[in-house]
Amino acid sequence: MLDVQPTHDAGGAHAAGPDGDRQPLLAVEDLHVEFSTDAGTVRAVEGLSFSVDRGEVVAIVGESGSGKSVTALSIMRLLPARSGRVTRGRIAFDGRNLLDLDGEQMRQIRGRDISMIFQEPMTSLNPILQIGLQIMEPLQIHLGLDEAQARARAVELMRLVGIPDAERRLGQYPHQFSGGMRQRVMIAIGLACNPKLIIADEPTTALDVTIQAQILELMKDLSRKLDIALIVITHNLGIVARYADRVIVLYAARMAEQGPAEAIFHRPRHPYTMGLLRSVPRIDRPGGARLETIEGLPPSLAAPPSGCRFAPRCPYRIAGCDAQPPLVATDTGGLSACVRTAEIAAGSIAWARAAADAGAKAQVAADQPLLSVRGLTKHFVVSTGLLGRAGRVRAVEDVSFDVRPGETLGLVGESGCGKTTVGRLILRLEEPTSGAIRFEGRDLLRASEGELAAMRRKVQVIFQDPYSSLNPRMTVGQIVGEPLRVYDLAQGDAAVRARVGDLLGQVGLRAEMAVRYPHQLSGGQRQRVGIARALAMEPSFIVCDEAVSALDVSIQGQIINLLEDLQRAHGLSYLFIAHDLAVVRHISMRVVVMYLGRVMEVADRDALYREPLHPYTKLLLDAAPVPDPTVEKARAPRLITGELPSPLAPPEGCVFHTRCPLAGPECRQAVPPLREAKPGHHVACVKA
């Protein structure tokens, strides 16, 4: 086996293949980046080496905090000047070491030869400057175009990235664009000067699946056409599988593995990569079985373990892992930082499966529904702007479904389709405009105060953002103990403390955590605290609103398993609201698909994913990439086009007809009713 020093131009030699002698476009060598923080020095990137060839698509994956963005910002030399610095290494771009350039030389490269697309389309454009100006800026600065030329080119670029009516929209401002449109503008800016390299840091994370597919398709197309190299930073393995030629896996500031995409997905050689691939729920596979997860948390970069960074969580750990493992070449043409790479390649050690498969899903009592929603409608009256013209947002329109005891009902749809509002209506945080909500047979909208109070305890919620939903000035113990005191569920301090310890144990936290404050916990731990707080009230129904969306893949798997375990132990019912179709497939028993406030389809999980009947469901499923390069690369380009219409003026008739490939004149006539097309499978489409 070949031992490769990390200081060598390691990746390039392998990936360049037949063109091995050609110089790579970008070669990062032994990059070290540090931040000074109040908590001491954080080594955000350590000894990272990789290269990117002309026209190549390289993906960088890794959990939050693993150093992906810092790597990108180091290449752009845009690290926060006051706290961050590159302490060692070379970044050779087109033969020049970027780290040696002065500010002005670097400025000339930015936007001209290397451009960057950022994660947050909502905040990455200047709110008070016209879109046109923002696109024209690099053209005028780098290419010296005059006003008229730059304007013409900006129109061209906007057409290229699929923004209709470009001339008029040049004069508009960012807030007049949707998230997807803003990201297209960012891409137009990135492409403006025909750069050689585009770095896209989570370019679609903030976008809906259908928009995400459009944007990625566009980026890939353009980079192929214009021979632009692309570094895509993401945590979505499906995206990696579809678009990347080569993959770099980072773990806690170091490279764990890199190699051709096919190899990384089908023959991973590093235990972390293997664990990562196992812990993602798959949209293309039936759910049901328990997710395998990587136990534990990533290490803190302020005080990382001395040997292999992954050792504390690695099922293959041996004595030799105490020393930092060198990068070794794998049999698949990549590199892996694991001492047992050869054994893994030989298949002589197997992945230690997580403890006994906990078996089938919880039992669903088929009789009476626990929660029953009928004709639920919510309109918000909004004033539009300075003139105070009032509009009516039809957030939820005639939604009906049942949740049975012990069941998980998934609720999916794009942002703004009304998922969260449905959850809030059930929680009575919002007054419905019309409709009925029955819980345990009682009508919540006509319930007395006393009945409502009892029901409030039984219906709990877990939010997306664990940070903002926990009071920062309360300790974990106080947060979890508060409902116990308010509802008098435990008498006396000792009893409360004991119950808090018990609840923390149930969600996999140690009892000592009770004295910590939310900011001292990781995202996954905070979400566990949120779950413990919900459990404290002994609920029978929990609304999980994007409960795992903000978490990293390995942590997400842990929380999903936890939710399923608790369901089994306490017979809980969940309304699981999410936009991630794979997660919903994994956890739900039945699924409701919403679009623009209306229910499009309701079916058993496997029936829905196997044979979706509604055109919207089909497109939604088609838009979500699966983490398998073989499947993805064989797949035809994505179909769905267009943007979500405004809920202020939803289309007449079938609300989906503006984007539906099957739409005909009859679809505009009337709203198609939800009808039972097959037993237990309801669909709202005239043609399905």
Partner: protein, 317 residues
């Protein structure tokens, strides 16, 4: 935009009416009236009869509601009545002083903004260097030192260096610009210091905030010249909150310069305020309060409209 402005202007009417009601009744709660101060003020022995006569002349003998009604009718017809002390129309009393106060306020604003914006910008750009520290000392001084005290310092310096004393009478700008400017530049600077300190700190902190925004990173990633990043991308966003501060300070300068006016021997709105309070000159006081309230309301509207001009999110939403 125009419709919005019209609507806001209409909304000013109820606000001002509310102020009018409040000020009228609050003044009547205070014991004593102008007649007593005027006729018995220096211990003069004036017969009750004379006092009653004077009261009748000024309408102070009418029931409270009738007085209020008279005043309201006056307000609606823009007749603010006469000063109870001097018998000159309130409009005239205020008018001559307003010219002076307004001029001081405008000059102070110009001086403050011209200094504060560059000062705050450089402090933010050179954060934690000696420039920033110096700016910080200067601005903290501006906040900590009362304007009138600073004014006295200026006066004494002028007296010591040039043997200059503020003239007794006010020369309006249109009569003799030079004399006028020489007279008013010093008080304008004295109050401008504090003003400048407030604005500079605002500019610095909001600029530092804007520098952390994603769109600044985007601008740099595009290879935009650093100067352009600062002026076009950062400063324009950072100045929005400063507009609010400037507006509030300006409105304050119209009525709040009591001591500074005395120090510089100026007969402005502030001094008039004090006089009319000590004389229980209700009509004049009511007029003054209405003037200051109107200023606040108008400036608030102007700030909002300026916001709309600078910020398209407000303009088009």
């Amino acid at each position: 935009m125009l419709a919005y402005a019209a609507k806001r202007i209409l909304l000013m009417i109820p606000t001002l009416l509310g102020v009018a009601v409040l000020v009228f009744f609050m003044l009547r709660v205070v014991p004593g009236d102008v007649v007593e101060v005027k006729l018995r003020g220096d211990g003069g022995n004036v017969s009750q009869e004379t006092i009653e006569m004077e009261r009748r002349r000024l309408g102070l003998d009418k029931p409270l509601l009738a007085q209020f009604g008279d005043w309201m009718v006056g307000l609606v017809t823009l007749d603010f009545g006469k000063s109870m002390w001097t018998d000159r129309p309130v409009v005239e009393e205020i008018g001559t002083r307003l010219e002076l106060s307004l001029q001081v306020a405008i000059m102070a604003t110009i001086i403050a903004v011209l200094i504060a914006v560059p000062l705050g910008t450089f402090a933010a750009l050179m954060r934690d260097t000696w420039v920033d520290y110096l700016a910080r000392i200067v601005t903290i001084g501006g906040l900590a030192i009362p304007s009138f005290w600073f004014g006295m310092l200026v006066m004494l310096t002028l007296l010591g260096l040039f043997n200059w004393l503020p003239p007794i009478t006010f020369t309006p700008l249109h009569v003799d610009p030079w004399t006028n400017l020489v007279q008013l530049i010093w008080p304008a600077m004295a109050v401008g210091y504090r003003y400048c300190a407030v604005v500079a700190r605002m500019v610095r902190s909001s600029l530092l905030e804007v520098f952390n925004e994603d769109y600044i990173r985007t601008a740099r990633a595009k290879g935009v010249y650093e100067k352009l990043v600062i002026v076009r991308h950062a400063l324009r966003n950072a100045l929005l909150p400063a507009i609010t501060v400037i507006g509030l300070e300006f409105a304050f300068l119209i009525g709040g310069l009591v001591v500074t006016e005395q120090v510089f021997n100026l007969n402005g709105i502030g001094v008039l305020f004090v006089q009319s309070v000590s004389r229980n000159d209700f009509t004049l006081l009511q007029g003054l309060v209405m003037l200051v309230a109107a200023f606040y309301v108008v400036i608030n509207l102007a700030v909002d409209l300026l916001y709309a001009v600078f910020d398209p999110r407000i303009r088009y939403r």
